[in-house]
């Protein structure tokens, strides 16, 4: 879109994280949640999903995320939305909850900007998940960080907004937001949080300021902090991931932090959240480094028009096969909910055969016992491609449709879509893992259905 500004005043650099056609805030949230819970001592009792780009306005997105994570039905679920500050607010609430429920706070945004806008060059899409407990963790597992002080400010300063049903943000002048908004509203709230935490600003090692670079510099100065204390804003390899961004930067800071470090976390949007966190001196081990790995799993999008088409910004003729009616039988989705959302198949108690879908009669030709299958989650198993094709005739938002038979570690077979896979990449015997993705869009009824797909490891 460089022709819009022939002077080349915008000099975009680096990379921005965008969604594949079958990803959205919900699928990103599931992926982040899975990573967070890998190796967790106990599952969460509550899921708070933070986003301004949730696929459903009225249908609990967090509940579907919890189902995809195969959490217990007793899990409390909540969507939190409406401002880019929602992530920091949700984190503060989870840390301060009086019922003591272990809360999985997931912040995810899949951001779309008007083509040619400044936001298009700044936005990224990402999700991050933090497991938060207001009670001291029991047993040996020490926290990665303790939340020491929190302060809030609400102020209806409209730096940008997006009305219900609108596709794009409307952004106000950056200089006004910087000078009248950030510069005047943030410092006092930060000072309050530091005071409550009994931490001096000079003792902060990691300052998470998810704001534009010029505004960040100005805030640093007014808080008496220096450049070395400023946490990486991930502008070069991710972009601004909206409601996810403060917590994403926090996760990066937690990976970098040493025992005893203090972290200042700021959220901004119709007010300010400031949180002061400290890494316990007795922290047993740093968090598994995940950010670098997630960024390294990148695939470059080589086509701007394909990017536009996948964001729904270009009305592309996908052919007559795209006219297929994708009505979902909700009664079946509910009946098979744990199988479809949680990727839970069956494992035969008589012969051990793993199978999907779970069925009344075992599929093993040497067994065929009735009602012997127990629920068995497949999502975290390893898989292997047994057969595949690249189908240029089937409707696919990213042709060709690539699918094949996938064998699960320990047995079982399913014909599955391969995603994040380009023509020429699939191989017989290729190891795969499973990811929760958008399966089909029902344009007639504005519904989206999700299922699990295989992708190369």
């Amino acid at each position: 879109m460089g022709w819009l500004e022939p002077g080349g005043t915008r000099a975009p650099s680096g990379a921005r994280a965008i969604c594949n056609w079958d990803e959205d805030a919900l699928t990103l949230a599931v992926e982040a949640g899975r990573e967070c819970l890998r190796g967790a001592a106990a599952p969460p009792q509550a899921v708070t999903l933070v986003s301004t780009t949730l696929p459903f306005v009225d249908r609990s997105n967090a509940t579907l995320v919890a189902a995809a994570l195969d959490l217990a039905p007793e899990t409390q679920t909540l969507d939190v939305t409406g401002t880019l500050r929602a992530g920091t607010t949700a984190l503060a609430q989870a840390a301060g909850r009086s019922d003591g429920l272990r809360t999985l706070v997931i912040a995810a945004d899949a951001r779309t900007a008007r083509p040619g806008s400044a936001q298009e060059l700044e936005f990224g899409s990402a999700a991050v998940a933090l497991l938060v407990s207001s009670a001291k963790p029991s047993g040996q597992q020490s926290a990665l960080a303790d939340i020491r002080g929190v302060a809030h400010l609400s102020a209806d300063l409209v730096d940008h907004y997006r009305a219900s049903g609108e596709a794009f943000d409307y952004a106000l002048e950056e200089r006004w937001v910087r000078d009248e908004g950030l510069a005047k509203l943030v410092p006092d709230t930060v000072r309050m949080a530091l005071e409550r935490a009994a931490v001096k600003s000079s003792d902060v090692q990691h300052c998470v300021l998810p704001v534009a670079p010029a505004a960040a510099q100005r805030l640093l100065r007014s808080l008496g902090l220096d450049q070395a204390q400023l946490a990486d804003a991930l502008r070069e390899d991710c972009g601004d991931s909206g409601a996810a961004h403060p917590l994403l930067m926090l996760a990066a800071a937690l990976e970098a932090a040493a025992p005893g470090d203090h972290i200042l976390l700021v959220g901004f949007g119709q007010g300010v959240d400031a949180l002061v966190l400290s890494v316990p001196r007795d922290r047993e081990a740093p968090p598994r480094p995940q950010l670098a790995a997630a960024l390294a799993r990148r695939r470059e999008e080589g086509s701007y028009t394909r990017y536009l088409a996948h964001r729904g910004l270009l009305d592309v003729d996908f052919g007559k096969r795209a006219e297929r009616d994708n009505r979902s039988a909700q009664s079946v989705m509910w009946r098979k909910q744990r199988q479809l959302a949680g990727f839970v198949g069956g494992r035969c108690a008589a012969c051990g055969t793993v199978q999907f879908p779970k069925s009344r009669v075992c599929v093993n030709p040497a067994c065929r016992h009735t009602d012997t299958q127990a629920d068995f989650r497949l999502a975290e198993l390893a898989g292997r491609v047994k057969t595949f094709t690249e189908d240029w005739q089937a409707f696919a938002p990213r042709p060709p449709a690539i699918y094949g038979n996938v064998e699960f570690e320990g047995g079982g077979n399913l014909l599955m879509e391969l995603t994040d896979t380009e023509a020429g990449e699939a191989r017989i015997g290729m190891p795969v893992r499973f990811v929760f993705r958008l399966k089909d869009v029902d344009n007639l009824r504005a519904f989206r259905r999700y299922f699990w797909k295989a992708t190369g490891v």
Binding site: G319, K320, R321, E323, R324, N326, S328, A329, V332, M333, K336, Q339, L340, T353, Q355, F356, P357, S359, V363, N364, P365, K386, T387, F388, T389, E390, D391, W392, Q393, A394, F395, A396, P400, A401, Y403, G404, N405, E407, F408, G411, G412, N413, L414, L415, M416, E417, A423, I428, G429, K439, D440, R449, F451, W452
Partner: protein, 399 residues
């Protein structure tokens, strides 16, 4: 022990329309066209038909469900008509119903009609359809070429056979069928093609190019059956008898169990073993003189050469390239041009295959005629390799 169907039922008349993009004809026209030929061939009156079976797969395509399309279309005398559907084995399933009814003595003369009007969908290839209310929620949005193409990748992997060489054997299959189809006035595609054309064609679903895929056509075919005793009593000398009619549907193993590697069609093997037993054939390679197999895609024909027992495991590409299944080979395959040249109006296909075997056994195949064949085989594979219905039928000259 059941004695099976061998020699208990005779086919005394058959009809088959010209297959193709029959913009001129609806399903009713196609059924009337095929039926007129069969009635004349059988030398009976319409009202002598005691029961009928109608095979249609896509009932959405202007044909309609139930008995009515056939009963109304041919103005049958209100005799029982049963509509059947068993994926691509639908035509053979209709024949099975008619043959079993005669063998059971439920009626004296039965009609099996298969018809499909594919070209009213408005686009090329098979129509999009639901896979089922649950299956749509988890199975990929696959197409027929995509489902069958996987046989090639799995076959090449299993036998360590280079894909380029496998594609050459697949190309030979398509060229051979076009060579045969060019000699058949009822075929849809009557052009000869070269291996270079096949290998250079646009990719539909890797590794299947356009010429690895069968055509998409409209058509109808039918058979009139009665007992051999009745046929002889009517003074008929040239008729064929049914030697075997077997079906084998998947029971979920290919889709859900790790024991299947995707390189062959399990149900074809099972149906073939039963059909050979029913027909009393111990050495099919020597006994079968010609075959019409389900060449929806070139790779399907290649792997079923092994599944039917005509090629040893891993040897089908070599046998194909050596011309074993060409019109002058040891066991000619697709003498009429196959699905490749007739296309695949699904309800009609099984009966269209039987029609060619019938013509060959009676010496009526014109320039395609083999010298004195005695036994012919037809094979359908309905659905996708992961989940399907296979049928194998064997026909012979009346003894």
């Amino acid at each position: 022990m059941a004695s099976g169907i061998r020699d208990r039922v005779a086919i005394v008349g058959m009809g088959c329309t010209r297959f193709g993009e029959r913009w001129d004809a609806g399903p009713e026209d196609l059924m009337v066209e095929a039926f007129a030929e069969a009635l004349t061939d059988a030398g009976i009156e319409r009202d002598e038909i005691g029961a009928a079976w109608l095979g249609i797969f896509f009932d959405e395509q202007s044909t309609g469900k139930s008995a009515l399309p056939l009963s109304v279309g041919l103005r049958l005398p209100n005799v029982p008509v049963t509509r059947v559907e068993n994926l691509c084995a639908t035509g053979t399933e209709a024949l099975r119903g008619a043959v079993y009814a005669v063998a059971a003595g439920a009626c004296d003369i039965a009609l099996a009609m298969g018809v499909e009007k594919l070209k009213d969908t408005g686009y090329a290839g098979l129509p999009e359809r639901t896979k089922g209310s649950f299956e749509d929620l988890y199975l990929p949005g696959s197409t027929a070429p995509g489902a069958f193409a996987q046989l090639a990748a799995a076959y090449a992997a299993r036998h360590g056979y280079p894909m380029e060489r496998l594609r050459e054997a697949m190309a030979h299959i398509s060229c051979k069928s076009h060579e045969n189809g060019a000699r058949n006035p009822k075929a849809h595609l009557r052009n000869r093609i070269t291996p270079a054309q096949v290998l250079g064609a646009p990719m539909i679903s890797y590794p299947l190019g356009v010429f690895d895929c069968c055509g998409v056509s409209d058509g109808a075919a039918c058979a009139i059956v009665m007992t051999p005793e009745r046929a002889r009593a009517l003074g008929k000398r040239d008729f064929v008898t049914v030697k075997a009619l077997q079906l084998a549907p998947s029971n979920g193993v290919e889709m859900g169990h790790q024991s299947w590697d995707g390189s062959y069609t399990l149900t074809t093997r099972l149906a073939a073993q039963r059909a050979y037993a029913e027909a009393g054939i111990s050495a099919p390679r020597e006994a079968i003189d010609l075959m019409e197999v389900h060449d929806c895609f070139s790779i399907t024909e290649l792997v079923v050469m092994e599944d039917l027992g005509f090629s040893d495991a891993g040897r089908a590409p070599y046998d194909v390239l050596a011309g074993r299944y060409d019109r002058d080979g040891a066991i000619p395959c697709q003498l009429d041009g196959g699905l490749k040249c007739f296309g695949h109006p699904i309800g009609a296909t099984g009966l269209r295959m039987a029609y060619e075997v019938y013509l060959q056994l009676l010496g009526r195949a014109g320039e395609r005629q083999l010298p004195a064949p005695a036994l012919g085989l037809t094979h359908n594979l309905g659905g996708i390799p992961n989940r399907n219905v296979a049928s194998v039928a064997i026909f012979g000259v009346a003894s």
